[in-house]
Amino acid sequence: MTERVLHTFESRFLQIVDESGNADDESLMHSISDDLIKKAFESIVMARTFNGRALNLQREGRIGTYASLYGQEASQIGSALAIEKDDWVVPSFREMGVYLTLGYPIWLLLRYWAGDERGMKVPEGLNILPVCVPVGSQIPHATGVAWAMKLKGHNTAAVCYFGDGGSSRGDFHEALNMAGVFKLPAVFICQNNQWAISVPRKRQTAAETISQRAFSYGFDGIQVDGNDVFAVYKATRDALEKARRGEGPTLIECFTYRLDDHTTADDASRYRSAEEVEEWKKKEPLIRLRLLMEKRGLWTQGYEDDVTEKARVLVDEAIIKAEEYPPPEPRDIILYTNAEPTPRQLKELDRLGWTR
């Protein structure tokens, strides 16, 4: 014998609705009801409305540094719509669209971005972890959550979000490898938005796609058009069903684009061209969704205005609620460190004059 091929792998790409709003393969749309289409539209509008207001609030100094989701709505909402009540979500830091779609109170998100930990006191009944700042380090948590589900015999799954940058981290590797070995019910969603601050995807890795990394872990990966909310939805739903059937994890790469600066502290014009951004703006998720809906008689300007207005009102109310909320207590710095304060912590509270 000499050299032989052991195995052949295919990296795959899924798109359902193209940039002109056409669904070439109507069969793929079968499972997608008009209600779902409208839900997707409305969720995207909500996410975008929230996002726009958050950017404004930051400019006005009413919240801190904020990471815009503009351009990534389809990736976030398409996947979030497939998640069921008892599934758990392990996000990164840019997934406000996911939080909102899962029903996270808007005012709490605003508290969080204003620098109040209480904004991430996730309400009971919602199974989403707090924002994770160290890029990629949340991925093993999803493996652990999925593992716990499996050990407890729960018929649920963990969904994890991270970016193209996050996929370079050791956490990614160890977490996905372990999820593969133990066939855990986990769905790993990489929002490849082409940039990690100033580092373009091509410099993040020499691999052509992130999704092909699944080969390294013995499970399936797929790249989807991350600006096509239904491709993302379908891939996520399929992966969740597979996970619940006990067939193990899936890696989904949403091929999308970060249209705004990395955060409000960033100036993307230092490292990428306006033309590139303009090209991608043409592909942003709402354009094609509107076209698709129009073809199906689901969209009118009046409808969109209505939806936008409703979102605006909700966000406005949330801003008021958030800003009226009393400031956090100094003692919380100490009292949430452990379940029970230590003697030294109690002495410290007294010395600092912070009420217990």
């Binding site: 758990w88 991430m120 652990g144 160890e174 030294r344």
Partner: protein
């Protein structure tokens, strides 16, 4: 009541806690079929099955990170890290996640994980098999750090660690695993975290130590009227017991295997310099490893605080 060594005592604690609470799972490298490289988890896989006694891939970061996720979901993972130095890859998971989950979620999520790991000198292992990195963990808010010094307290402290709602690093002195036997009741019992024990009473000086250094400190105390405190919980340490003793003796020697610079001995000394300086007759002495990298086997005994070096410190404080 049978006498047993520390390996057996820890094994028993694990067995009893797993039997008591289905949410307790053990995971790590070689903890299942092999029973752990020190055999601490021996027999657990036979009793509780491979779902609860999990042989993992070689992935410290992944193990600790998964344990964080498990704990957030409601399990009580007990991680074994094969040797203390191998946890360094996973420090971010401990420092940025396990210890901050409660704060970050304002109490919605706790992170009750236990990280068990052998530490310390005396086994003449290869490089990086003898580190004592307690100080690094002690510096982290939101964590507990525990070190048993006898089979008896190993069992009781581990039971408490597993039941604790917050992350605990449970450091096992590798040198003591099989070196001493004590009576260990078959019945379940627990020893409160945060409490030190006066291992030996005395009037002339207070000696503070833990793990295998406790025994070195006691041995060196022959001929001195030394009060030797077994710290047991390194964070948060038992300020009351230490203060009470120092108020009585006025002299302090702290012994540990780690290097001095920013070791835990520094915190104890600084605490006393802040709270009890008026009770001190003289300097607070620390007997520690010298300021060098943990050596390999040939120089290992010299790196360790030897009885001789400890005695020298006792003699020195007695001059005041």
């Amino acid at each position: 009541m049978d006498k047993m060594n520390m390996v057996q005592a820890i094994n028993m604690a694990l067995r009893q806690e797993m039997a008591r609470d289905d949410d307790v799972v053990v995971l790590g490298e070689d903890v299942g079929r092999d029973g752990g490289v020190f055999r601490v988890t021996d027999g657990l896989i036979e009793e509780f099955g491979p779902d609860r006694v999990i042989d993992t891939p070689l992935s410290e970061l992944g193990i600790v990170g998964s344990a964080v996720g498990m704990a957030v979901y409601g399990l009580r993972p007990v991680v074994e890290i094969q040797f203390m130095a191998f946890i360094y890859e996973a420090i971010e998971q401990v420092y940025s996640h396990a210890t901050r989950m409660r704060t970050r979620s304002r109490g919605r999520f706790g992170c009750p994980i236990v990280i068990r790991t052998p530490y310390g000198l005396g086994i003449k292992g290869p490089e990086l098999h003898s580190d004592s990195a307690e100080a690094i963990f002690c510096h982290m808010p939101g964590i507990k750090v525990v070190v048993p010094s006898t089979p008896y307290n190993a069992k009781g402290l581990l039971a408490s660690a597993i039941r604790d709602p917050d992350p605990v690093v449970f450091m096992e002195p590798a040198r003591l695993y099989r070196a001493i036997k004590t009576a260990v009741p078959e019945d379940e019992y627990s020893i409160d975290l945060g409490r030190a024990e006066v291992f030996q009473e005395g009037k002339d000086m207070t000696v503070i130590a833990w793990g295998s250094m406790l025994h070195a400190a006691v041995e060196a105390a022959d001929g001195f009227d030394a009060e030797v405190i077994d710290l047991m919980t390194l964070k948060p340490f038992d300020e009351e017991t230490i203060l009470a003793s120092v108020r009585k003796t006025g002299r302090v020697v702290i012994v540990h295997e780690a290097t001095k610079y920013c070791g835990l001995g520094a915190e104890i000394a600084a605490f006393l310099a802040e709270e009890a300086i008026m009770h001190l007759n003289g300097p607070i002495l620390r007997v520690t490893a010298p300021d060098g990298v943990v050596p390999m086997a040939m120089l290992e005994d010299l790196y360790m605080p030897t009885s001789k070096r400890i005695r020298k410190a006792y003699e020195e404080v007695m001059r005041y």
